[in-house]
């Protein structure tokens, strides 16, 4: 068995040796990280977004690159998943988008700050992360298949509405399913409902989304067709 002196040598040699290997690998990583993270795309806006992310301790609820807390969604691929339009609406008033659900602090971000955060997430989303986050491996038969909404719906419907509503079984389940909504309400009612939900039904959880007139018209036309 080892003597105390040999044991001390084991400690010193293994520590020294592996510390050197670690520093060498760190040096090599520093050479590779700029390319793998597209550091050249790190715009001034994205850097400001990173600062907003840090200053408000967003990691205290969310994860990004899988690091942070587990109270709120993983945001590494949020730009790809939700798109700019949805993110803008959400960051304006987070609780409006998820009425009665888990709350996010209302930070009252300015439009500029929201753009910065979106640039930050766009940059994060384009990194080479060795395959993380993995694509789901278990196929579901019919239920809960986010994103794959019927092809003829307008883009704004896919970007925004499906976060809470479903059509043909795909979409969110915060608000009611919208199958057959066209046979229940006419176009004028739907138009009024989307432009100001509170005026139609005070106290409703449906948020006022401030979509453009053109987008609203497209959504109303699409919904009216769901008979």
């Amino acid at each position: 068995m080892l003597s105390k002196k040999q044991a001390r040598m084991l400690f010193i040699v293994s520590t020294g040796l592996f510390a050197i290997v670690f520093l060498a690998l760190t040096y090599d990583s520093m050479q590779q990280i700029p390319a793998r993270t597209n550091a050249h795309n790190l715009s001034a806006s994205a850097i400001r977004g990173h600062e907003i992310w840090n200053d408000n301790n967003c990691m205290g609820c969310h994860t990004v690159l899988g690091e942070g807390a587990y109270y709120a969604p993983e945001l590494t691929r949020v730009y790809e998943r939700r798109g700019e339009k949805w993110m803008k609406m959400f960051l304006k008033n987070p609780e409006a988008m998820y009425p009665g659900q888990r709350k996010m602090v209302q930070y009252n971000f300015t439009d500029g700050q929201i753009d910065d955060l979106i640039s930050f997430f766009k940059w994060i989303g384009e990194m080479d992360l060795n395959g993380f986050p993995a694509k789901p491996t278990i196929k579901m038969s019919s239920a809960q298949n986010n994103g794959a909404v019927s092809a003829n719906s307008p883009q704004v419907f896919k970007d925004v509405c499906v976060a809470c509503h479903s059509v043909n079984g795909s979409g969110g389940n915060v608000g009611p399913a919208l199958d057959h909504v066209g046979s229940k309400f006419d176009a004028a009612y739907l138009n009024k409902w989307i432009s100001d939900p509170q005026a139609v039904k005070p106290g409703t959880a449906m948020p006022q989304l401030n979509v453009s007139d053109a987008d609203r018209a497209l959504v109303v036309e699409f919904l009216s067709g769901l008979k």
């Binding site: 001390r8 592996f18 200053d55 408000n56 969604p73 888990r102 992360l129 491996t137």
Partner: protein, 455 residues
């Protein structure tokens, strides 16, 4: 107790008790929020509760390590502490910085960097504070009349912990680099130099409690910390799988972090072997419980549960889920919380001269807190595994999954109540010891009193 300056440790331990109780309260706030009872959201949003919970943990463990050092180093150096007044100043300033940081968290003043949320200006104060501590301890050793391996390893551990705090203070615009060096602090602390502190405090306790020959214990101490660094340094790679770092970290991190449990297994076997060779019947059985418990639970929490999600193929799905919370809770509890509670259980009766060891309260404190923590870990495990399958494997929406697993947080809170009962009893017993008064402390002779074994 050999030297009256060792009493400084008592006040560090008392601070530990205070911070630990606050940490538990914030844990409940988060548990309830996960169940949907987020009534405190407007005053204490989740990110504030979380930063407070984890930072209190780090601060009370560090305070405990400092207290342990102030107790152990004079005894091992065979002289009074170099500067007692400086030690008190250091404790008070540490509390001031800590309280300021925690208030700051509630006012949105922090850095959004997991575990290192303390705002930058306060970081500098922490550095000064720790330097004062290192100086005080270092001078005691330097001017000491005796030199021991235990004190050397403890000192090297504390000094390296202080030095490794520095990489966490560099700012980067690139999130990947920010994370890369943040792990130098967090990982190399808990799976590196803190294990030196753990190993040496365990060695001290084992020497005192079992009476096994110092040479034997210290030889094993070297072997174990050797294995720790052999696996732990490159084991940092398990944080570099998926954050924008090169692919070879999957192999390097996977291989070396798979070796990390060996260090913890070594620690457990070492404590058990020394106990079995025990040539001494130390009357403070509860301190022995915490010491052996620490060695065993650190293997289960840090070693075994760490290994459960450390391989890259597994971590691909568990990275960033409640599985991490499962591992984190038992790892910190087993390796470091139980260690600090062990040294407190050992030293408090000696400092205060009241033999409140082995009473019902102290024994229940040990069992209830441990059973509670096992239950909490189980609740996190079930919630985490469900999250991994529903969200990561099947692609269900985050919030939908969170609704499904709310019930497991009810289980978490039930187990947490058991845990808290244990902690309350521990603190009650600590308070009952009273404050140390000069001349009251136990002597060496009190430590060999023979009582029937309770184990």
């Amino acid at each position: 107790m050999k030297y009256k300056s060792q009493i400084v440790a008592y006040w560090f331990f008392a601070t530990c008790m205070l911070l630990l109780s606050l940490q538990v309260i914030y844990g409940f706030i988060m548990g309830f929020a996960h169940m949907g009872f987020d009534n405190l959201h407007s005053i204490i949003p989740f990110n504030a509760a979380r930063a407070t919970h984890t930072n209190l943990l780090v601060v009370w463990l560090l305070t405990g390590f400092m207290g342990a050092a102030y107790y152990i180093i004079p005894e091992e150096s065979d002289r009074e502490l170099y500067d007692v007044r400086l030690a008190y100043i250091q404790l008070i300033s540490l509390i001031v910085v800590g309280v300021t940081a925690i208030i700051g968290f509630h006012l949105n003043w922090w850095e959004g960097r997991k575990f290192l949320e303390i705002p930058r200006p306060l970081d500098y104060l922490v550095v000064v504070n720790v330097l004062v501590f290192i100086y005080n301890i270092g001078m005691t050793i330097w001017k000491g009349n005796k030199f021991s391996t235990t004190q050397l390893v403890l000192y090297v551990g504390l000094l390296s912990a202080a030095l490794l705090y520095l990489p966490g203070m560099i700012s980067f615009e690139n999130q990947t680099l920010d994370s890369y060096y943040r792990w130098w602090v967090v990982h190399l602390w808990v799976e590196g130099v803190w294990e030196l502190i753990m190993g040496s405090i365990l060695a001290f306790l084992l020497i005192k409690l079992t009476g096994v020959d110092r040479e034997v214990i210290e030889k094993w101490l070297y072997i174990i910390v050797g294995i720790t660094f052999l696996s732990g340094i490159l084991g940092t790679g398990h944080h570099y799988y998926y954050i924008g770092t090169p692919k070879y970290w999957l192999a390097v991190g996977g291989f070396f972090s798979a070796l990390e449990p060996i260090a913890f297994l070594g620690m457990a076997l070492y404590a058990i072997t020394m106990y079995r060779r025990s040539g001494r019947n130390h009357p403070n059985k509860v301190a022995l419980y915490w010491t052996m418990g620490c060695a065993v639970m650190s293997f289960v929490g840090a070693g075994f549960l760490g290994f459960a999600h450390t391989l890259p193929q597994v971590n691909m799905y568990t990275h960033g889920t409640l599985i991490t919370a499962m591992h984190g809770h038992m790892a910190f509890w087993g390796a470091y919380a139980m260690l600090v509670l062990a040294i407190i259980s050992y030293a408090t009766p000696i400092m205060t001269g009241r033999k409140l060891w082995n009473n019902m309260a102290s024994m229940l404190a040990f069992w209830l807190s441990n059973i509670g923590m096992v239950g909490m870990t189980g609740a996190f495990a079930v919630a985490g595994i469900t999250q991994v399958y529903l969200e990561r494997k099947m692609g269900m929406d985050f919030l939908t999954v969170q609704k499904e697993i709310e019930v497991h947080f009810f289980g978490l809170i039930l187990a947490g109540c058991l845990f808290t009962t244990g902690i309350v009893l521990y603190i009650y017993n600590f308070i009952k010891h009273g404050v140390p008064a000069p001349g009251n402390s136990l002597t060496e002779a009190d430590e060999v009193e023979s009582v029937p074994s309770l184990i």
